[in-house]
């Protein structure tokens, strides 16, 4: 072991006067063939890395990263869920003796013991033997912890309908709709359609959005008079000229959205 005191250096540099090797001792004490790190072994590592990268990129391309709708703090119905590697801690807090009056047990004592033991493992498991069967307690505790974490993660994840969640929380792109209230058809829209289809044609629980529809003006006029799907006939009650202006208005808004 080197001590700072009494060490000699070359000139004012940090290079030690006594020649000592920084390089770890020779591996010749282990039986078998060694290989130079540079360039032989690094090339093989490079190949492993390349294969790994291909797999990783395939994952990335096959599953686009999810994005839900913009955060809405007033959405009281939203069920929060952490990222998957925190699910086990989240699930732990659902147990009776890890929540309520025992919450400190769930958030501090148990995780603190587990991660504290992980941090100090070399000092808790300080015997000379390295093989797993020579240290049954340490290995047993690790297996127990591992199984618990996997079990908690699995229970937590199995309660979630991931597909449904993704469907219900799709990102809604910002509306780029321009509603020209000066348009001659707006009055007709306001009188007949707005109650259900909304001020920005965004739709409501009763009616679909009118943005992004692929109808001709004639078809829009027909639907306005005769209805379609759950929309009853006879909702529009104006003149033919107003009907034409209405169809033109809806087409104009659609064009602005593109």
């Amino acid at each position: 072991m080197h001590r700072g005191k009494g060490m000699k250096f070359v000139g004012d540099s940090r290079i030690k006067a006594e020649k000592t090797s920084q390089i770890p001792k020779d591996y010749s004490e282990y039986p078998g063939r060694t290989e130079a790190f540079w360039p032989n072994f690094l090339l093989k590592e490079w190949l492993v890395g390349a294969v790994f990268l291909v797999g990783f990129l395939i994952l990335t391309l096959a599953h686009p990263s999810p994005l839900e709708g913009m955060a809405d703090p007033t959405d009281a119905a939203y069920i929060p869920l952490p990222d998957w590697y925190f699910l086990f801690l989240y699930e732990l807090l659902k147990y009776k003796y890890a929540s309520g009056d025992f919450i400190l047990f769930g958030i501090l004592v148990l995780p603190g013991l587990a991660f504290g033991a992980l941090l100090l493992a070399p000092f808790l498991d300080n015997g000379p033997g390295r093989r797993p069967h020579q240290r049954p307690i340490a290995v047993g505790m690790m297996l127990l912890g591992l199984v618990s974490v996997i079990w908690l993660t699995y229970t937590s994840a199995s309660h979630v309908n991931w597909q449904e969640r993704a469907e219900a929380n799709k990102p809604i792109p910002e509306s780029s709709v321009v509603v020209d209230t000066e348009h001659e058809g707006f009055a007709a829209y306001e009188a007949s359609c707005m109650t259900c289809h909304g001020a920005e044609l965004e739709g409501s629980a009763a009616a679909p959005t009118l943005v992004g529809i692929e109808y001709t003006p004639e078809e829009i006029a027909t639907i306005a008079k005769e209805g379609t799907g759950s929309m009853p006939a006879g909702i529009f009650t104006g003149s033919d000229e107003e009907l034409e202006q209405l169809a033109d208005f809806i087409i104009t808004v659609n064009e602005s959205a593109e």
Binding site: Q22, I23, P24, K25, Y27, E29, G32, R33, T34, E35, A36, F37, F41, K44, E45, V48, G49, L53, F56, L57, L59, T60, L61, H63, P64, S65, P66, L67, E68, G69, M70, A71, D72, P73, P80, L81, P82, D83, W84, Y85, F86, Y90, I103, L104, I107, L108, L119, A121, P122, N126, P128, G129, R130, P132, R135, M142, L146, N169, P173, E174
Partner: protein, 224 residues
């Protein structure tokens, strides 16, 4: 030409020892999958570092578009996903990399644990490694909020409520992270951004440097 440049620099600052420290060493047979395929377990640590490099690079590119502000954070991510060329892929790499790095870290930790490789004289490096694991979890927790979508917002709110229940320092801890004792909002987002992009990566780089220097000083543990 290159040799001349190298010699010119080497003459002045003596870089050959640095090079020898980094790359000039022997790799023992028992960690070399080319000799013994089961030695592939020794790849986990290197692959973890590889994913960390992916995270750093993709994260650097993400900050070119990301805006840490509650009005624009979600919009900038949405824009990056839907409009920017290859933005989907860059964000995808950062998103999936965050999960893959945890998996690789876990595998690496288990390899070291079950081989008892943390025993004397490598106790310190194990501690540094576990600290790296904690920093990674912190990066995962803070990064989860940044897209500012619903799942990010509500998960962070729950996380901060848990922090609040810590005795004595709970409220202070929550205020430190969220910027306010009760609101999860603009302050929280900028703080999480700063923690995710500056504080934790700084800690990570320092720990990684120590981790690698210790490996080079002590060498890889022998075969079982």
């Amino acid at each position: 030409m290159l040799q001349k440049v190298y010699d010119w620099i080497d003459e002045r600052i003596d870089i050959t020892p640095i090079w020898r420290d980094i790359a000039d060493h022997e790799v023992p047979e028992h960690v070399n999958p080319a000799h013994n395929f089961s030695a592939f377990v020794y790849c986990f640590g290197g692959l973890t570092f590889f994913v960390v490099v992916i995270q750093i690079l993709s994260g650097m590119f993400l900050t070119m578009y990301y805006v840490p502000d509650i009005e624009n954070a979600w919009k900038s991510v949405y824009y990056l996903q839907s409009e920017v060329a290859h933005g989907q892929i860059v964000r995808g790499m950062h998103h999936w990399g965050a999960s893959v790095v945890i998996v690789m870290l876990l595998l690496h930790t288990l390899r070291v644990f079950f081989q008892g490789a943390y025993k004397k004289p490598r106790e310190l490096n194990w501690i540094v490694g576990v600290l790296i694991f904690f920093v990674m979890l912190g990066l995962g927790f803070t990064g989860y909020l940044l897209p500012w979508d619903n799942k990010a917002y509500f998960a962070t709110q729950v996380g901060l409520e848990i922090a609040e229940q810590v005795p004595f320092i709970g409220t202070e801890l929550k205020t430190l992270l969220a910027g306010d004792a009760s609101i999860v909002g603009a302050q929280t987002l900028t703080r999480f951004f700063a923690i995710h992009v500056f504080f934790l990566p700084a800690a990570l780089f320092a720990l990684l440097a120590v981790h690698f220097i210790l490996i080079r000083r002590q060498g890889i543990s022998g075969p079982l």
